[in-house]
Amino acid sequence: MKVVVCIKQVPDTGEVRIDPETGNLIREGVPSIVNPDDKHAVEEAVVLKEKYGGKVTVITMGPRQADAALRECLAMGADEAILLSDKAFSGADTSATSYTLGSAIKKLGEFDLILCGRQALDGNTAQVGPQLAEFLKVPQVTYARKIEITGGGLKVERALEDGYEIVETRLPALVTATKDLNIPRIPPMDAIMDAYGQKEIITWTASDIDVDRDKIGIKGSPTRIRKASTPVLKKGQIEIIDGTVEEAVDTLVVRLKGKQLI
């Protein structure tokens, strides 16, 4: 089985803090991690490889430091890691990103399955997976909770808002992983050493893959960010309800009744 996993290195937004004085995001010292949903994708790929044999290739579009994220995936059991790194790729929205990733995957040749995390901690769009599937003209199955390889291809249990559905599709296909899919393994000590020692990260720039320069990076992004700001914390003033506990509770009940909430 040839599995390709698309990952993203993201800031650990769980560790992000807001500067109490300026209200701005404090970004220094925030560690970078492999996007959690993507880790589930890597784990699943490795599990499939262990079960059915084959090869797992991890690929990311990012700056040089995304190297660490790729090494972690190698330490989890991926066989090969590709870093798409080029200034020309930067500023990409999900459309340009899926185009770039898709073009690189085309260069890799044939594959059976592409796994992506459902969404990234920073962008939160959940768009790259389906857009990549469309670009490569393969079937997509999103919100995967369980994956099974069958004689005909793939059988996936995917989450719905109020339950789940079981779907079947042929390979090659693209599946997006949710955290319910598995528990990502902790990279063992020897695998970590090998990820840094034995294995090499292959780096591709825009010239290494067959891309139309107008479709990558900021140039290839149909959407543009006009403005980004930290949100003003909430509308209106807070009413701190004073008094004894008894009095405060009474006042709160009155307020909530007034808003028809209780």
Binding site: D67, A68, R71, E72, A75, I186, P187, P188, M189, D190, A191, I192, M193, A195, Y196, G197
Partner: protein, 374 residues
């Protein structure tokens, strides 16, 4: 001299921390209380390749540096649980077998330890002594193809569990090391001691009555076993250092968190008061100093240096630091620290152990002084 960790070392540290967070922290309080380590814990360590870290791959180990091992041990010690202690023996003992053992011994004994199938022990201490080879009374007498071993060992970690024990016995008025199968006939253990801290950790006496050990199980040279003990002690001290650093860091983190939450009458957290801040600062200094002594000593091992002096310095300092940090931490918590609601009380008890086991601080002082005045 670059004190930064390499990306590989960062990942080692991160993976070990994830292991501690996922596998040990959630059960730590319960293991402490019930003094009952889950039976699958050793296998989990093996799967994460945290055992036999410094032993070559060809024998089943990880082939990693001592510094990596120290980094991992520090993180595993953070939950301040006896579970972390499982990592030490199956690292330090296979390391000795690799250094002093014959090819056959390496091929036979190291892999099962790395794979978490059995637990290693090391038995030197007896009722009469924990440090002086001349006071050892356990004897080993050559009888044909075997040695017959008789005697008593005291306070031996994991002695009741299957696996090999490197055991020191008197031969020709000196001592020799033997690899003894803990399953041997004539080998029995006492009831485990009840300890002040580290609930779940098993330490018991060994009674050896006519235990027969094949003569090929002599490890190292005959009559020259003491050097093995000394070398083992040096690495074991590094494990203890890492243990002290881990639990001291935990004490610091717990205390900082508590100090920010606990408010005084004017709704100011105690973290805003000078008395608490000064204690936290002291604690932070001690943790950092202990940490870098550990990394320093471990790096020297990687450079092929002998670290008997450095290990003694590191152990002496870090075990005392651990006790002091735990003490200050408990004072920061106030009366709440005295309850089992908070982690600090078990850190306090465990920290004390590191000061007296595997060579008391007084022994360490003698060692360091020995290097200075001879």
């Amino acid at each position: 001299m670059d004190f930064k960790l390499t990306p590989e070392q960062e990942m080692i540290k991160k993976a070990a921390k994830e292991f501690a967070d996922r596998e040990i922290e959630p059960i730590a309080a319960q293991v402490e209380r019930e003094k009952n380590m889950p039976p699958d814990m050793l296998k989990k360590f093996a799967k994460a390749r945290l055992l036999g870290m410094t032993v070559p791959r060809e024998y089943g180990g990880v082939g990693s540096s001592f510094l990596n091992w120290a980094l991992a041990t520090e993180q595993i010690s953070y939950p301040a649980s006896a579970c972390g202690g499982l990592m030490a023996m199956n690292n330090t003992v296979p390391n000795m077998i690799d250094r002093y053992g014959t090819q056959e011994q390496k091929e036979k004994y190291i892999r099962p330890l790395c794979q978490g199938e059995v637990i290693a022990s090391l038995a030197f201490t007896e009722p009469a002594t924990g440090a002086d080879p001349r006071l050892i009374t356990t004897t080993a007498e050559l009888d044909g193809e075997y040695y017959r071993i008789n005697g008593t060992k005291r306070f031996i970690t994991d002695s009741p569990f299957d696996g090999p024990v490197i055991l020191f016995a008197k031969t020709n008025d000196r001592i020799s090391g033997f690899i003894v199968d803990k399953n041997s006939e004539g080998y029995t253990t006492s009831k485990p001691y009840e300890l002040m801290g580290g609930g779940g950790w098993v330490t018991a006496d060994i009674y050896l009555k006519e235990v027969r050990v094949p003569k090929d199980n002599l490890i190292g040279d005959l009559d020259n076993g003491f050097i093995i003990l000394l070398q083992w002690a040096a690495t074991s001290k590094l494990a203890l250092c890492a243990g002290s650093v881990g639990l001291a860091q935990a004490a610091l983190d717990e205390s900082v968190r508590y100090a920010k939450e606990r408010v005084l009458r004017n709704n100011r957290p105690i973290a805003a008061t000078q008395s608490i801040q000064w204690m936290l600062a002291e604690m932070a200094c001690k943790v950092e100093a202990a940490r870098y002594l550990l990394y320093w000593a471990a790096s020297l091992v990687d450079q092929g240096k002998d670290v008997m002096r450095e290990a003694a310095i590191a152990k002496l300092f870090s075990s005392r630091a651990g006790v002091e940090v735990a003490d200050m931490g408990l004072r920061v918590h106030g009366a709440y620290g005295f309850t089992t609601e908070y982690k600090i009380e078990r850190i306090y008890r465990q920290a004390k152990g590191n000061e007296v086991i595997e060579g008391t601080s007084e022994v360490q002082r003698s060692i360091v002084a020995g290097f200075l005045v001879r």
